[in-house]
């Protein structure tokens, strides 16, 4: 072991004069130059790292749990170190792309560097164990080394750094485990074994996808170059559809295709995925707000036109549920684009308090053949023969059972009042769209009575009103606050905030309402499938 028999421990030259610095087990004196590549345009040099005072070099490897522990514990401190004049760089014994992903996943906020076999930087610093933390002082002298994870030794090392800089340096908290042995450095083992440890996909591919963070929490299909090429179907993978908020990753067609592969799409679905991607990236949709909000909102994808049948989208029995690959994977691909390319991972930049299961993927097709009305895309200005996706920020579905209404008025009343608590019981009026999915048996009642979509929408709008005085409890709107107590306030700001679709099994009188994503200024956006 580099430093003591148990693979951990620290030595610093506390109190020693300049020139007598030593690194236990590793190098002493002048820090060797770093033969690594980083993420910036220029090389990472000892001189550059110590220009403001000092540097902490953390040698790590992606496969090593103790390295992960060190990155997780030290990563959040890097920003404060930098402000005190102490640069931090994690030097991986892994390819740079893997190093970047691992550092990001573990919350490392310092610089990231990588080295290829035979790991020249690790060899130059005589690293035999990862993690190994090396303190380089002003003037480029190695002043201390800690191997493995040793909270107290690291605190001592950082105290020493602070003493030399004349600044308070944050140290890792005394959380268990206080110490943990490291793993063998790849520089210290057989080159063939090291190469095998660095290889992607050598073992368990689905697990590797989880390790890379290329998932929504469920297993994915690995996006090999061949699968992505097949998904693109000859399209230019370099074409950009725009930037995906909130992290503003660029949605090249290749990345959209990678998301479609991960989601489990067939290549035949890709035109729908691409159209949905274009729709959610329209600024009018305000994906930025939807992606980061504490609201539960997901991105509902509604598909109309001939493509539904061509690719097997289900608009019948179980239209909002499981069982149909096209529906589930198209919606999932869109969400993967938002959470991976866009960086909106739950708990990171997606700040949803609860979320809802539709955020795994939320794609429905309208049953235009059963509907008594013009389909959604025709309402929105497209021709019946066009295939169109429409995206709507939506809450989870609430089922509405009604097996007893015998008039369209009664049924419309039941449907409309089911949405009275959408968003919140007393939040009236809603300006953003509530989506009603009308089941075929309910739709048949309106067809039989000759009700147009406009008539139903107007009836529902007129039906749901309350005196402002009854809406004052808890969270409510300025409209309620400013209205006279007996003034009627509608549930929706206009009939246009009621969206009507037809889908579902032919038996059973269960419709559903999907509450809105509220207050984001998000508009409904449609794009033709081309």
């Amino acid at each position: 072991m580099a430093d003591g028999g148990d693979g951990r421990g620290a030595r610093t030259d506390r109190g020693a004069g300049a020139g007598t610095a030593r690194g236990a087990g590793g190098v002493r004196g002048p820090a060797p130059e770093l033969d690594v590549h980083g993420t910036g345009p220029g090389p990472i040099t000892v001189g550059g790292l110590t220009a403001d005072g000092g540097a902490v070099l953390v040698f790590v490897s992606e496969h090593c749990p103790t390295s992960a522990l060190a990155l997780r514990r030290l990563g959040p401190l890097c920003q404060a170190w930098a402000e005190a004049g102490l640069a931090a760089v994690a030097i991986f014994e892994d390819p740079l792309d893997l190093a970047i992903r691992t550092a990001r996943r573990l919350g490392w906020s310092g610089q990231v560097a990588a080295q290829e076999p035979p790991y020249p930087a690790s060899r130059a610093y005589r690293v035999t164990t990862v993690p190994t933390t090396v303190l380089v002082g002003r003037g480029g002298l190695v002043t201390g080394t800690v191997t493995g994870w040793d909270q107290r030794a690291l605190a001592g090392l950082l105290y020493e750094a602070g003493r030399r800089l004349g600044a308070a340096i944050a140290v890792p908290s005394e959380a268990e485990p206080l110490s943990k042995p490291g793993c063998s450095s790849k520089a210290a083992i057989d080159p063939e074994l090291a190469a095998a440890m660095s290889a992607h996909g050598g073992g368990d591919e689905p697990e590797e996808m989880f390790e890379r963070g290329w998932t929504d929490g469920l297993p994915v299909v690995p996006p090999t170059a061949e699968r992505v090429e097949a998904m693109l179907g000859g399209r230019d993978g370099g074409e950009s559809l725009g930037l995906v908020p909130p992290a503003m990753g660029e949605a090249t067609l290749a990345r959209v295709a990678a998301c479609a592969v991960l989601a489990g799409c067939r290549p035949a679905y890709f035109p729908v995925v691409a159209a949905a991607a274009r729709a959610v990236l329209d600024p009018a949709f305000n994906l930025h707000g939807q992606a980061v909000t504490t609201q539960p909102a997901g991105q509902l994808v509604v598909v109309n036109g001939p493509v539904r049948e061509a690719i097997g989208l289900n608009s019948g029995m179980g239209a909002l549920g499981p069982g149909f690959r096209a529906n589930l994977t198209i919606g999932r691909a869109v969400r993967l684009l938002v959470s991976l390319t866009g960086g909106a991972m739950p708990g990171v930049m997606d700040r949803a308090t609860l979320g809802h299961m539709g955020k795994l993927g939320f794609c429905i097709a309208e049953d235009e053949e059963v509907s008594p009305w013009e389909p959604l895309h025709v309402e929105r200005g497209f021709e019946p023969g066009q295939s169109v996706v429409t995206v709507i920020g939506s809450d989870a579905p609430l089922s509405i059972s009604d097996h007893r209404s015998r008039t369209p008025e009664d049924l419309a009343y039941i449907l409309a009042w089911a949405a009275a608590s959408a968003w919140s019981t007393n939040w009236w009026p809603l300006t953003d769209p509530s989506v009603f999915v009308i089941c075929p048996e309910h739709a048949q009642m309106f067809r039989g009575a000759g009700w147009t979509k406009q008539r139903l929408r107007q009836f529902m709008f007129d039906a749901v009103r309350k005196p402002a005085g009854q809406l004052h409890r808890g969270e409510t709107t300025a409209v309620v606050h400013e209205a006279a107590p007996d003034a009627p306030v509608p549930k929706w700001a206009s009939p246009e905030a009621i969206v009507l679709l037809v889908a579902g099994g032919e038996a059973g009188r269960y419709s559903a309402v999907l509450g809105p994503c509220t207050g984001m200024g998000s508009q409904i956006v449609s794009r033709e499938v081309t």
Binding site: T39, G40, Q79, E83, D97, I100, R101, S109, V112, A199, H200, G201, G202, E205, W214, P222, P223, T224, A225, V228, G237, A247, M248, G249, E250, A254, R255, A257, A258, C259, V261, L262, N286, H288, G289, Q290, T293, L336, L337, L340, T341, G519, M520, G521, S522
Partner: protein, 92 residues
Amino acid sequence: MAAEYVSPFDERVRAAEPLAPRPASVQGQHAVLLDIRKNRGAEFLDRMETLLQEAGASTARMTKEIFSKPAALGLIDEIAGGGGLVVEALAD
């Protein structure tokens, strides 16, 4: 043989923007108070404005279009050009 994958991530790494230096005192500073239009954020800014003015700073109020979208570049430029300090309020 290692598989070749197409990453769904945009792997470009953007350098972190360093924090602007903090003044030792707000005395004589000009502070912009940015209302992002989040519910009740203005109440917090009202209080901050009072405290800043009592401490000798001049103040100006600006407002975002809507809380759920990034501030317009024009507004950011206006703030950057017109104030030494900025206070942004998030509330609910």
